[in-house]
Subunit: 301 residues, 2 copies
DNA sequence: TCGCAAATCGGCCAAATCGTTCATTCTGGA
DNA sequence: TCCAGAATGAACGATTTGGCCGATTTGCGA
């Protein structure tokens, strides 16, 4: 997360929230607002603490300006439906120009206005990378801009990943990645983020991992779920054969989720898999379902 | 080895703690922060003293970057680093097994015991990745372990990068990356980290970037320094020709630093470049030198 | 080694914040 | 409708904080 963490005094919060200073102090003392103290005993509230408070109480800053914060309600998802495009294009442009701080800010604003980390990341990043890819094939962008954009996006995803609450060690394990010949890191990183957010102990093996190595990893980690993110296929025939062998060995008990833009209508029918996901949203729903099913199975056994 | 502990001034602590310099001075005088004095009476706080203060008051650095410390609580400081070798092998093993938290802890202990972020990262990570590479070619490790290790290491480097103080917008610009056919992201990320730490506005273009795209980037960004990190070469003849053409176009005013394990004695003599760096340490020294030279040039012009 | 710019010193003061108390307003039930 | 309990907002002296100042020290380059 951002290295600089601003802090606010009760008076500032009071003005931003349009309540009295006394109330803010009481809320701090009651524990509703996470508060730290200076050595002399003055209350200080970090930005994280403020966000936590706002989220838990469903409150909004009626006057964010005094804290130097952007007006979140204007970005609210339901309030400005038509602004999606403008936000997306702003993000895409910033990513192409290597303006990492701007990208991070847009993503953060998206999240503070009610999107989940996964939703915001998927929408903004996949859209932007598609757009950059298109522009690149049209010679409007240079290769280095595409590469740099990938690096920045990966950093953002990793930051979101780090900001998630710690994983429950008892949670079911999921592993996955991108197969050999697939150089894309972002999709599998997004899948990992999504699964972690819905409570899986998800671990991405990375990109360009041969399916034999998936098999070894499955043996080592004993997962309850395996995903395969496929953005690029070098040899379709070999790919289909290897995936099917892998699926065969996985057996019935471990579901195999596949997805990715390389799995088009010519490839997909030839593959053995448990489910195909068109989007991360789809994946999340499936994963949540499987998690609760696992829980039931354990409870009944 | 870093023998003497780093020391911080009240002003630095103030920024890291998000309080005023006056308050830090008062806290020092009150005895809350263990303080030593220079002969002339200036206050200095050692890293140990800082730890003691943070632990006793249950406090965290809200802005650790300005002290060159990683962005994590210093409370969990178990000071049992052991010998260099044992630390290295522990890190290597944790990386191979995907134990990200352990890796992060070892790296941070290294930094809080006086190493700079760059030094610690280079020593631990390059050593570990070499070791993992060796074990992999010997069939002791699986491919997925190597890929996962790279991903984790890259995350760690990016976390250190994020914990650095914000870049001075007036600082000289440096760009660089790994050329086409080179799939390694870590080396160029480490170089970027190192340059940022010594005050450059460094931006990595990523891996697998064609030299033509380097040229475009040079045109777009107008850097004062360009680096080329080469860990793998597909076609040596083409590579040499392209690097030399690139160096030619760069001209005299923009130094080209090259490095990486692929530049062996058969390749290097054929290349045009300003300097070759055997290690990141070497690179840091050179970059610091060039930065001060730039400063002088600007001052005299 | 010397000189100079930047950092730090100690002290001072206005403004902010502390904890507390009390009057007022809001809320839900008899 | 009335009342008791809870939350809010305002006011108080005591304490802390943050910025300012001229004098001194430090660190770096010539």
């Amino acid at each position: 997360m951002a290295s600089s963490q601003p802090q606010y005094s009760p008076k500032q919060l009071a003005e931003a929230l349009c309540v009295s200073e006394s109330s803010v102090k009481r809320w701090c003392d009651r524990g509703a607002v996470p508060t730290i103290r200076t050595l002399g005993g003055h209350r200080r509230v970090t930005l994280d603490g403020l966000h936590q408070f706002l989220k838990q109480t469903g409150r909004e800053l009626s006057n964010p300006g005094v804290l130097g914060l952007p007006n979140l309600s204007l970005l609210s998802r339901r309030h400005v439906p038509g602004s999606d495009d403008s936000v997306h294009s702003a993000f895409r442009e910033a990513l192409a120009l290597g303006m990492e701080a701007t990208c991070r800010r847009i993503l953060q604003e998206r999240i503070t206005s009610g999107w989940s980390a996964t939703e915001a990341a998927e929408k903004l990043i996949t859209d932007a990378m598609c757009g950059i890819g298109d522009a690149w094939t049209c010679d409007q962008l240079d290769i280095y801009q595409e590469r740099r954009g990938c690096d920045i996006a990966l950093r953002l995803v990793n930051e979101l990943r780090a900001s998630l609450p710690p994983i429950d060690p008892g949670a079911p394990v999921a592993i996955g990645g991108a197969p050999a010949g697939d150089p894309y890191q972002l999709p599998t990183a997004l899948v990992e983020l999504a699964l972690r957010q819905v409570g899986w102990q998800a671990m991405s093996l990375g990109n360009n991992v041969p399916l034999e190595s998936f098999q070894q990893a499955t043996h080592d980690c004993d997962p309850q779920l395996v995903w395969l993110s496929v953005s690029s296929i070098s040899d379709p025939i070999v790919f289909v054969a290897q995936v099917n062998e892998f699926a065969e060995r996985l057996g019935e008990n471990v579901p195999l989720l596949v997805g990715g833009r390389a799995l088009d209508d010519t490839i997909r029918p030839q593959l053995r898999y448990t489910a195909h996901c068109d989007s991360v949203k789809h994946l999340i729903d499936l994963a949540a379902l499987m998690k609760s099913k696992l829980k039931r199975d354990i409870a009944t056994s």
